[in-house]
Amino acid sequence: MSLLSLRQMKTDIGQYSVLHDVTFDVPEGGVFVLLGRNGAGKTTTLRSIMGLWQPSPGSVLFRGEDITALHTAQIARKGIAYVPENMGIFGTLTVDENLVLATASGRFDPARLKRIHALFPALEKFRDKQAWSLSGGQKQMLSVARAIIEPRDLILIDEPTKGLAPSIISAMGEAFREISETTTILLVEQNFSFAKSLGRDMAVIDDGQVVHTGSMADFAADTALQDRLLSLSMETS
């Protein structure tokens, strides 16, 4: 059974129909990459899974349970974390306050905190700093760290490399690789080389519909298919 299954998901935002027919399965473990051109509906897909926009009709199944109609908070408590494109950090809260807010008990599990500090040393160095004063890369680290401060089954990550320096992207890739050993990641990414280096399975979405699913290895090997589905809007370096 897949960890997450989307079935004929359709999402309207106002009078615009953004997703028409999104259907794919995310298997448990590893990184599943959702690719697509700008405006194809990738972010809307993640937001619809989180219940931030209500898909109708269609269904979202998580471990076989229909979570389509659940409130965002209930979906989060099922074990799904969300790292939005804008990172969604709380700027006036300190780094530690951002992290502790995401814990269920209001207290840190020392072992998890230690693991996070090992993954992202800057978060230990600046733990009492207000988050707005961090650099873009550090904010992204905080956003990801907040998603793993509690045990999760699935993390939805939206374009984590956007605007980051190559060295930070490389560090982020290492962190994702380690996180994906214990937690499934559904990654939306425009940087194809980054996506290729991490992804095990993938889907391509175009104009609100899934137009291709398969293994990342096969897709990476087929440049004609990449060119046809992703065109020139994807970064290839």
């Binding site: 989180m50 989060a76 006036t92 807010l101 995401a102 907040r146």
Partner: protein, 326 residues
């Protein structure tokens, strides 16, 4: 960080206003009396405005009916004080204090209950629609005024004060009203309590996070609508408490009290910055000091002075002096 920021930044503005006023007024005793009056008034404005600021910041709700809580708080407190009239006139400070405690507690409880009703019945159906929020909350304010008129009548209501808060004390040649000192102390204690709530508790952490990004708080697993109603009730209870304190300060109140306070409460919130308790305190103190100093130096400009202050601050800092979201 420059030297001004190191010593408090925008929070030095009330000090600057006080220093300028000291120079313009010339007489230290008058200046001290006006400053204490301004600080007391500022604390009462803080009580009235802090809830509005949090509700505005957290829930994005433009509640023009907020001052109805101020009015009801004032009238409920006045009624309770009248009921315990015998205790108020007693020589026993204990009975004096108990009458005052009952009056303020009744205003707080009534304000919280009214806030619950207001949020569920009036505000909830119009979340995320500012135009309808303005219309319906303005309408609710008018209804509240009429209810007060029907219940307490149109003639000004006299508010009794406990004997121990009557009179003045002389400090350095200045005559300071005891009630004003009391109002300042109460406001300071409430501020400290709110500060601790927001900065030392998990609920406070959630409120501060919710002011910045409601959606993300929900994505972390918290149902923010429960927080909304809690904050709304807290805000209305504080406004009612501010109204109760204001009633004792004015000693004569009318059903138009809420509408009269609405403008000044909004000026405080806009000057301070949305969603920020520190900003609201700063805005309240500045507005009250300005009103007292200008009222003394150029009485006809007293109300206009606050409008000018707000305009100047918005030109300098469009989001207010200390908004919650940076």
């Amino acid at each position: 960080m420059n030297i001004v920021e190191r010593f408090g930044g925008v929070f030095l503005l009330p000090v600057a206003i006080a220093i300028i006023a000291f120079v313009l007024i010339g007489a230290p005793s008058s200046w001290l009396t006006l400053t204490v009056a301004g600080l007391a008034m500022g604390m009462m404005l803080f009580l009235m405005a802090s809830g509005l600021s949090l509700v505005f910041g957290l829930m994005d709700v433009l509640n023009f009916g907020h001052s109805a809580f101020v009015s009801f708080g004032a009238f409920v407190a006045a009624s309770v004080l009248a009921y315990f009239g015998g205790w108020l006139g007693s020589d026993s400070i204990f009975l004096n204090i108990m009458a005052l405690v009952f009056a303020i507690a009744a205003a707080i409880v009534f304000g919280a209950a009214l806030g619950w009703f207001f949020e569920r019945v009036i505000v909830k159906p119009v979340y995320s629609d500012h135009l309808r929020q303005i219309l319906i909350t303005m309408g609710a304010l008018i209804v509240a005024e009429q209810l007060i008129l029907a219940t307490w009548g149109g003639t000004p209501t006299n508010v009794l004060r406990p004997a121990f808060l009557e009179g003045t004390i002389i400090v350095g040649g200045s005559s300071l009203e005891v009630y004003r000192l009391f109002a300042f102390i109460v406001g300071a204690v409430v501020y400290a309590g709110l500060y601790l709530l927001l900065n030392r508790t998990r609920m406070g952490l959630l409120i501060r996070a919710g002011v910045e990004n409601r959606e993300m708080v929900e994505a972390l697993g918290f149902k923010i609508d429960r927080l909304f109603i809690g904050v709304f009730m807290l805000g209305s209870a504080l406004a009612a408490m501010g109204g109760a304190m204001w009633a004792g300060y004015e000693t004569l109140i009318t059903p138009a009290l809420g509408a009269e306070m609405m403008v000044i409460v909004f000026i405080v919130v806009i000057i301070g910055g949305l969603g920020s308790i520190q900003g609201t305190l700063l805005g309240a103190i500045m507005v009250a000091l300005m009103q007292n100093y200008v009222g003394f130096l150029a009485p006809k400009l007293a109300l206009a002075s606050n409008m000018l202050l707000m305009m100047a601050i918005l030109l300098w800092r469009p989001y207010g002096l200390a908004p919650a979201v940076k």
